[in-house]
């Protein structure tokens, strides 16, 4: 194998696949990056749960495969003096890395033993714009549960129906739902639970302004996120997802239209005195006038009171919440205004866009 490429390209590709290289694996070969030079150069990291493959531009002089120790490889490439890097693998697995006047020779591992990432292709695919998928993940992933006693909640539920794609996360106390219509052919109905950890990696790779499409291909046990040069394959979480549709109330006792930024700032300020070492306090949302929402926190450190202008329909409210749950949702709402529906001091509270149904954040109040 002999390839010539740019140091910066190498660094980018290594950084991407390293996310799936386990730091302490029982299988030594998994601690390495698989480098394959056929028609193109492909780097692979795989921890048996999640696999990341990344294509890289390079000049292939001679085809071949090798596994390179991941961390050392990354460090070597980063420290090379010149941008042009030549990598050559001899018959006996010796890797030579040349750049300028620097000449490294390191040992590689034969690629034969490297486990294969499952091939996911059963013809079905959903296509979503990169920036859109990134938003959808960002706007739901915070509500993924880490409670291992309920594994199905450890991932985001992805449901496609016709042209609608829906992503849902639930941690038992709150729910985050994002919905979007996608272009292209209808894909039929399918749904699966993607591990939160995989989505974290997917988000890192996705470009914020990216107009390129991501192809999502599911199979029975695995899912593939195909972003062109980068492919992420992951195991799916098996099981029935919670039936969330019945949980989201369609009616409301009170509805507020408010600026999410103003509300987020107020609650963030309240949190400054709420987060005490060993005692947690609620944040109180109450109203004494129809056009003003009062955010209060009353803790053993002190108090905060802040007024926010709102538009109210229905009854005035007086409800306690866990500030964190509110903040997590408000942070990811990009709209100018948001509609918040309350259902008394016990019923669920839902944040929705003022128009449409692109998202829903459901939080249960704290009962006094």
């Amino acid at each position: 194998m002999k390839i010539i490429g740019s140091r910066d390209r190498w660094m980018e590709a290594i950084a991407i696949v390293q996310k799936a290289v386990p730091s302490r694996s029982t299988l030594a070969i998994l601690d390495g990056i698989l480098v394959e030079a056929d028609e193109t150069v492909k780097l692979t990291g795989y921890d048996l749960e999640t696999g990341i493959e990344c294509l890289m531009e390079a000049d292939i002089r001679e085809k071949g495969h090798i596994v390179v120790p991941s961390r050392m490889f990354g460090d070597i490439i980063r420290k090379l003096p010149e941008d042009i890097v030549m990598m050559e693998v001899s018959e006996n697995g010796q890797i030579t890395i040349d750049s300028g006047k620097t000449h490294f020779t390191i040992k590689g591992i034969a690629a034969d033993g490297y486990p294969k990432i499952p091939v996911v292709d059963n013809g079905k695919a959903v296509s979503i714009r990169q920036s859109l998928l990134k938003d959808m993940i960002r706007q739901t992933i915070f509500a993924v549960s880490s409670d291992e006693s309920r594994p199905t909640l450890n991932g985001c539920y992805l449901r496609c129906e016709g042209n609608q794609v829906e992503m849902v996360a639930i941690d038992g106390f709150r729910l985050a739902l994002r919905r979007k219509t996608v272009e292209g052919d209808e894909v039929g109905t399918m749904s699966f639970i993607v591990p939160g950890r995989t989505l974290q990696e997917v988000v890192r790779v996705l470009e914020s302004g990216g107009e390129q499409p991501v192809l999502i291909r599911p199979s029975g046990n695995h899912i593939l996120f195909d972003m062109g040069d980068v492919k992420i394959t992951s195991r799916l979480i098996q099981g029935e997802y919670m039936n969330y549709r019945g949980i989201i109330p369609q009616t409301a006792d009170s509805t507020l239209v408010v600026s999410p930024v103003a509300m987020m700032d107020a609650i963030a300020r309240a949190s400054l005195i709420i987060s005490s070492e060993d005692k947690r306090f609620p944040v109180r949302l109450s109203m004494s006038e129809d056009d003003t929402l009062v955010v209060t926190a009353n803790t053993d450190i002190g108090t905060l009171r802040e007024e926010i202008p709102v538009e109210l329909t229905g009854n005035r409210i007086d409800i306690d919440f866990n500030p964190r749950y509110f903040l997590d949702a408000l942070k990811v709402i990009d709209q100018e205004t948001v509609t918040i529906a309350f259902n008394g001091s016990m019923g669920p509270c839902v944040m929705k866009p003022s128009e449409g149904s692109d998202f829903a954040y459901l939080v249960l109040p704290l009962r006094r």
């Binding site: 038992g172 106390f173 709150r174 949980i247 060993d278 005692k279 249960l364 006094r368």
Partner: protein
């Protein structure tokens, strides 16, 4: 005038009743055993007020004719024994012929019985041991006995009866045990008109287990391989995984020839088999059925026949020990590595999946066979020179931590300084690694510290909850805010646990758990206190039920109660991520070193272990 005179029968029966009939459970036990001895395949028990105001036991057994029915209430009248010789080979549950007479003397009894071959049955009514009415009645074949107003004429006993729910709890436990021992009999228990238990009686052990213990627990039990020993003893049953350790022995049941017994020998064999596998202070869930020819066991040593004497205790011990060991190994229910010293058995860690080279069963303290590994047997010193960091002398000992104030171990790893506390500067310890995403490896003063991150987290959480609850109380604040669950969780528990929880439900709710009964064995959890983060509610409730049944929380408004609850809550708490990032580690160490006792988690398990540099040097033969 002679001072000594013969007591009248009523007095004699009263005295006997004191021995045999202690509480409503005793009555239920006698009646149910009689029903089984009568060959019943369906036994139903209906109690009111914990059995104090009424107990009705109905069976479809062989019934009695008029003469037998009258005779049944005579003292030392029995159908189960004819000659003294029969005592050596007792196959029936009862035999002493005391029970009915005793029960009759302290209650009001109505008996209805008919033999299948008779057309009409007979009804007897007794008051304080005397038949006051007798008539022929139409009734189903079998026997129905109703015992009312128990102890109404024995104020001394009556006074000592516990709350209805407590008495009912005992009866539930008993019927549950009987049902387990006799899967071929359908048992039904009704309390205050609610059916608490109903087993199918289809001779299927697992469906009976299901009905009695609830789905979750039944699923996790490992059946013992059917395996007799040398023909004289047959042993079957179920072994709970060590992870299901409970804080009392109430979840252990031993049956000998179909009768529930207490046995120190079997208990010791169970402990020995699970030794090193359990968290300290917990007991495994074990159900054992032994069959031994009745001439090899003496059951006539205890009025309630709870204790028995085995001819050959060694055989019993060995059989139980090996059966459990095998089941545990087969069930992969074993922790892979075990830091507990096993000097008694000389077993190597890691060798336990192999056929155990156990100590001579029957005398578990005897020396071990096989080649001992020298450093494991560092006589008085613990293997590995591991010390549970402990400022106190008590708890650490089970972990073989030499008591710092006690005599110094002579073996390896003896520490020169008697002060194990490094307290506040724990945060300054250098993190050098992370083992299996479970233990943090720290370097501290040249020594290696192992820190169990889950235990540490649990400990921090527990202290935090308790401190906040105490403050709430002292500041007169009400209950903590309740965070509702999106979807209520329905949790099923073994019946006796469920009863214990139901009794304390008011207090549980006042602590911020929105828990409501949901059927006889289930609860619905709709919300948790804001301060208790993620947790596994089923574990929480199980752990709590243990505390309640243990009786450590007699006063549900007291601090002990809160401790128990938070203990349980923390037990259920789940560490969010196993792979901690450095900031989390820092925070953990900081929080931990702020505690007064960072060394033990609320359950007495150690949080930190120390392996001394000297000990490591020694292992590497750098020093001798």
């Amino acid at each position: 005038m002679g001072r000594i005179h013969r007591l009248d029968d009523l007095t004699i029966n009263h005295i006997a009743a004191g021995e045999v009939v202690e509480r409503p459970l005793s009555v239920v036990k006698e009646l149910v055993e009689n029903a089984l001895d009568a060959g019943a395949s369906v036994v139903s028990c209906d109690i009111r007020n914990g059995g104090i105001s009424s107990i009705v036991v109905t069976d479809n057994g062989c019934g009695m004719d008029r003469v037998d029915a009258r005779m049944a209430f005579e003292r030392h009248a029995t159908s189960k024994l004819r000659t003294i010789g029969d005592l050596d080979a007792i196959g029936t549950m009862g035999f002493r012929g005391e029970a009915l007479a005793s029960i009759a003397s302290v209650s009001r009894i109505q008996l209805r019985t008919r033999r299948p071959e008779d057309e009409l049955g007979i009804e007897l009514t007794l008051e304080a041991g005397t038949i006051i009415r007798e008539s022929e009645v139409g009734c189903p074949s079998g026997t129905r006995i109703q015992v009312e107003n128990l102890f109404h004429n024995v104020p001394a006993r009556f006074k000592f009866l516990k709350k209805d729910a407590t008495e009912a709890g005992h009866i539930v436990e008993f019927i549950g045990r009987m049902a387990l021992s006799r899967p071929d009999v359908s048992f039904r228990l009704v309390n205050q008109g609610n059916e608490l238990l109903h087993t199918p009686g289809n001779n299927d052990g697992s469906s009976t287990l299901h009905s009695v213990l609830g789905r979750d627990m039944a699923r996790s039990l490992v059946p013992l391989a059917e395996d007799g020993e040398s023909g004289i003893l047959t042993l079957g049953g179920y072994a709970g995984p060590p992870s299901l350790g409970r804080s009392t022995r109430q979840h252990q049941a031993f049956f000998l020839n179909g009768r529930w017994i207490r046995s120190r020998v079997i208990g010791a064999a169970v402990d020995e088999a699970y030794k090193g596998r359990l968290v300290k202070g917990t007991h495994p869930v074990v159900i054992l059925f032994l069959k031994i020819p009745s001439n090899l066991v003496d059951v006539n040593v205890h009025p309630q026949k709870l204790e028995v004497r085995f001819m050959d205790e060694g055989v019993v011990f060995r059989a139980v020990y090996h059966a459990l060991q095998n089941a545990l190994a087969a069930g992969e229910a074993v922790a892979a590595f075990d830091l507990q010293p096993r000097p008694r058995t000389g077993e190597m860690p890691g060798s336990r999946l192999a056929e155990p080279q156990a100590a001579e069963p029957g005398m578990p303290t005897a020396g071990a066979p096989g080649e001992p590994i020298p450093w494991l047997l560092a006589d008085s010193g613990p293997p590995f020179g591991i010390h549970a960091e402990s400022p106190a002398t008590d708890e650490g000992q089970a972990l073989s931590a030499p008591s710092p104030d006690g005599p110094k171990p002579q073996g390896s790893g003896a520490r020169e300084d008697a002060k194990p506390v490094f307290g506040r500067d724990l945060a300054a310890a250098r993190v050098i690694g992370h083992l299996s995403n479970t233990y943090l490896l720290l370097e501290h003063g040249g020594d290696l510290l192992l820190l169990d991150q889950h235990a540490a987290h649990e400990k921090i959480l527990y202290e935090r909850l308790l401190a906040s609850a105490l403050r709430r109380r002292s500041e007169g604040e009400g209950m903590p805010p309740v965070q509702g669950l999106l979807e209520p969780l329905v949790i099923e528990l073994p019946l006796a646990d469920a009863l214990a929880l139901a009794e304390a439900i008011g207090s549980i709710r006042s602590m911020g758990f929105d828990l409501v009964p949901f059927g006889p064995k289930s609860f619905r959890l709709g919300g948790v206190p804001m301060e208790v983060p993620r947790m596994d509610p089923a574990r929480l409730l199980r752990s709590l039920a243990d505390h309640l049944r243990h009786g450590d929380v007699a006063d549900p408004s007291g601090t002990r109660w809160q401790e128990a609850l938070f203990d349980a809550a923390c037990h259920g708490a789940i560490k969010a991520k196993d792979a901690l990032d450095p900031r989390e580690v820092d925070q953990l160490l900081k929080d931990l070193s702020a505690l007064e006792d960072p060394y033990h988690c609320p359950h007495g398990r150690p949080v930190i272990l120390r392996i001394e540099r000297q000990e490591i040097d020694k292992r590497f033969k750098r020093i001798v």
